[in-house]
Symmetry: C2
Subunit: 573 residues, 2 copies
């Protein structure tokens, strides 16, 4: 490609609305242009990158025997009503009526369509397992699209679905998919991490997320310093960090004016934070005989909403109670709450259940009890892991301690079990001729999001540094005074043509820009290898080569430059 024939609208400054570096660089390097909130046009340079990622994903899916299909974006409501998701899905599901007033949605995911597709067609266990996938634009009407294509409304996904006669077959395909995902992200040159995850509202028994590690990641990953354990903090099991001991103090009621926070309690009364309890009040589920429920976590711990929602008494999604509701039910406000004489049911975190001689609100305005002990002073009821794991906690697998990293979720695999096949009444005959409900798995990769994630991980203050496998071009020829110096022009054209003929993805910057401007732009767009051709070095029969991350350039003799480049490109391919 000659840049004079290319469309590369670069920007000197990133628009103010771009908060994170990948969004800034994607706009500045002319990869995308916004059309509407969370909706982008992919320009030639950006499209080339996502097509490269798409090709890697497709190859790895084909390698494990997944079959590519293409399901429609417009999905009839009836199928979503069958699965129950027409009701369950929020406003991020884009619904519309066609000209005949029939209900449809633009599918953000295809469990219903794929189950309906194979239902009736696949009749025997002998036709299983089967894995199908597609690489397709999705629409999710995010309430607050942000970070460019990282959390956009239209995005490209690879979604795969597998069907199995038994759970062992599902586990085998799940494992193959896990390895294919590792292969995809490894080939892309990304530093990533597979973590155990909560399977969330999609249902099912087991799930892993794949995260590209980056400080700007929205997800928090807890991993062990002593084993392979890694998990999203949303679902990282928290072990109790204390062991229950015998009471040593008597319980006493203490006046605690102006002490609404744990920090104040610790500071004013010299209570160790490990001896304090936070009492959080949330709305109860409908089948609980109270309207409100209290959740108790240790003063230095954080509530984990996703864990708490799993308790049958807790309304899902978690909703904090209002101060008015709390006062009406308990007779005291937030900051004075605790388990002793609490008129509503409570759930204690496992660490809280192992505490002794601790302090908590007395459910009387501006009073706390100190020296509380379970059993003697207040009965312990429901106990459950409802807190976030913390750096330094013992790893749940028993090896080492937890550390923390931030990640960008780019892949997610699920063992769905029978949720959709059961709801949509899909059955196959097993080897005894009996109708059984197949097991399902589903497996997603965020193709366009990967472009942003790769940039978050691979950039410097000059711009993007593409990993070679997904670089839009491998090599740029940057002639100084192209079109003015006959020698430079000739040499650049010849080298360009030779490399093209060899099938190298090479680009020639024939726009005749000033060297400073040209170099800045080429660094911004992140081409891995650059050859500068100028009259000065040509006089010595040399050109200059510099890798995108090299600190300085090296001179290469013109008669060896072709061999040098082919060798260098081969090393990084």
């Amino acid at each position: 490609m000659r840049l004079s024939n290319y469309y590369l609208p670069t920007l000197k400054e990133a628009p103010a609305e771009a908060e994170i570096i990948s969004h800034q660089l994607m706009l500045r390097a002319g990869l995308i242009k916004q059309v509407s909130s969370g909706i982008y046009t992919w320009l030639p340079l950006g499209l080339t990158v996502y097509k490269k990622i798409e090709a890697i994903v497709r190859e790895e899916m084909n390698n494990i025997g997944a079959l590519e299909i293409d399901m429609p974006s417009a999905q009839p409501a009836e199928l979503w009503q069958d699965s129950g998701r027409w009701q369950d899905y929020g406003p991020e599901l884009l619904r519309f009526k066609d000209r005949h007033q029939r209900d449809f949605c633009i599918g953000p995911t295809h469990e219903e369509i794929v189950t309906d597709l194979l239902k009736g067609e696949v009749q025997s266990y002998k036709q299983l397992p089967i894995t199908v996938y597609q690489i397709q634009k999705k629409f999710r009407d995010e309430i607050r699209p942000r970070f460019g294509v990282m959390r956009g409304r239209e995005f490209l996904m690879k979604d795969a679905y597998s069907f199995h006669a038994d759970s062992a077959s599902l586990a085998t395909t799940y494992q193959a998919m896990y390895q294919a995902y590792q292969q995809i992200f490894t080939r892309m040159g990304l530093d990533f991490c597979a973590v155990e995850a909560d399977s969330g509202s999609i249902g099912g028994s087991r799930s892993h997320e794949f995260h590209v590690l980056a400080d700007s990641g929205e997800d928090v990953i807890m991993f062990s310093d002593g084993s392979d354990f890694a998990s999203n903090i949303e679902s990282t099991q928290s072990l109790p960090v204390t062991t229950l001991t015998e009471p040593t103090e008597a319980m006493r009621l203490v006046d605690t004016p102006d002490t609404k926070t744990i920090a104040a309690l610790v500071e004013k009364y010299q209570l160790p934070i490990e001896k304090t309890i936070k009492t959080l009040v949330v709305k109860a589920a409908t089948d609980c005989d109270s309207d409100l429920i209290a959740l108790l976590v240790r003063g230095d711990h954080e509530l984990n909403a996703i864990k708490a929602e799993k308790h049958p008494w807790v309304a899902s999604p978690l909703q904090m109670a209002s101060e008015d509701d709390i006062r009406q039910a308990i007779g005291a406000g937030p900051g004075s709450l605790g388990p002793v004489n609490l008129p509503i049911p409570f759930i204690a975190d496992e660490t809280v259940a192992a505490m002794s001689d601790f302090g908590a609100g007395a459910n009387i305005e501006a009073k706390h009890y100190f020296g509380i002990n379970w059993g003697r002073d207040v009965a312990l009821g429901e106990v459950m892991d409802i807190r976030n794991a913390k750096v330094g906690d013992s790893s749940p697998d028993g090896s080492g301690h937890l550390r923390m990293a931030r990640g960008i979720e780019v892949g997610h695999i699920f063992q769905l079990g029978k949720k959709y096949s059961e709801a949509m009444q899909m059955t196959v005959l097993d080897e005894h001729g009996k109708a059984v409900t197949p097991y399902m798995g589903c497996y997603g990769v965020g193709v366009t999001r990967l472009v942003a994630a790769a940039i978050e991980q691979h950039h410097d203050d000059k711009g993007i540094i593409w990993p070679p496998a997904i670089a839009p071009f491998s090599l740029v020829i940057a002639p100084i005074n192209y079109g003015k110096s006959a020698a430079v022009t000739q040499f650049a054209d010849d080298l360009y043509q030779t490399l093209r003929d060899k099938g190298i993805p090479v680009v020639l910057d024939d726009r005749g820009k000033r060297p400073g401007v040209m170099f800045s732009e080429l660094e911004l767009i992140g081409i891995p290898h650059r050859v500068v051709i100028g009259d000065k070095t040509l006089a010595d029969n040399e050109v200059e080569y510099q890798g995108r991350t090299d600190e300085s350039s090296q001179r290469i003799a013109t008669d060896t430059v072709l061999e040098f480049l082919l060798t260098t490109l081969n090393k990084t391919a």
Copy 2:
């Protein structure tokens, strides 16, 4: 690919709703499955075919320097309001409101988005011309989706857009696109025809359609037997087929009871059909001072609605007047209408204007005038070409006579001119520093429709006959008693592996089906080349080869079969 690992749900009988052969064969061969009216899932075999077509289209676009981009499906209403199409477009434009109640549509075309994209970014004529394209799913909410993917609601399109500083540059790119389209359809192995077309509601000055010739085609193409002239009947110019002569008869009022049709008039009164006139009444445009307008065509000619709509007096789209409206305005009903004493304005077709001594309704119930002559009996007013061209007419280019063929429109190229750039206020600076409005072109290919069109043209009573360039697999190995005969299994596996290693798109039918069933299925899905391996021929060290259209098979020695196949495949590639 081993068919035992493939998903190929073939059907013995086509579902009743499939009216045309391509729809029947696509369902029977397991290429597609319907999800909703006009909405399909593409199964592995179908997807492979459309990906091959997509790859050919992409290559030819890249070859003429078009740059691939990816514009969003969800388009904000504001842009369509700017161009005026938010109002003009009918209910086939799928409109929706996002969660913030902002108006959007799912773009059936991208003139607005692409003009908005380049507006402001392209500032100088030096950056022009530029051609961008995308290959993308579109949604058009057809009132009556039919013929499978031929007229579906979701379909894959290649749409390209070009921008130019002057009309000469537009003409150059238009010509390059025309040639690229010829290249695409030629490479696909299709018998096609490029025809001049009406540019329709999209606007602009010049346009060509590309049709795959097939008897089931919805379009009628008129072409000359004496030149290269070809045109869609919608826009084929009709020359007058008579020359005005002096009156030889007096006009007379004739009682014509029960004579409501031209056929009856001809039969009962021995009037040659070339001496009769049809008077059709349609609604007038708002700036005409009548509510109704009469259109006159010769008795044996057909009205061309698209031509008539171009007259400023005629409402667009053309709407026939009701019988009540006609009786109220004229005092007589359809079947008794004519130009003499007609109280509403009329437009005469050019052939009508050249008639003499003709008959037409008298605008009195059950009466006609015979022997009418223009000028003497009634004044001739508006004259315009408003009829369909007819087989046998002189070709509009003056060489030869018109013949007719039916075609499936698979491509359409337009010189849009300034319609969108003007409406959306895009300007660039010309070489004198003056702001000018760029010229635009747009260019579409129906990728998924091409799959159906190829089948319409390439099938027999056994099934599909894929042209080699778009066949899902080039070659199938069909072993008899696979898995039972060790010799057959071994030979089939070895041949399959050898061909795969050489990169041949080969499929092995290892499902162990009975030969009759297997051969029928393989013929149905249309793989161009087949090798049958059986114990009988293996005993003679031979296998059987048969091309999909060969009348019989030929025996090939096992030690030369590889060379034979490579040579044969190479010939058709």
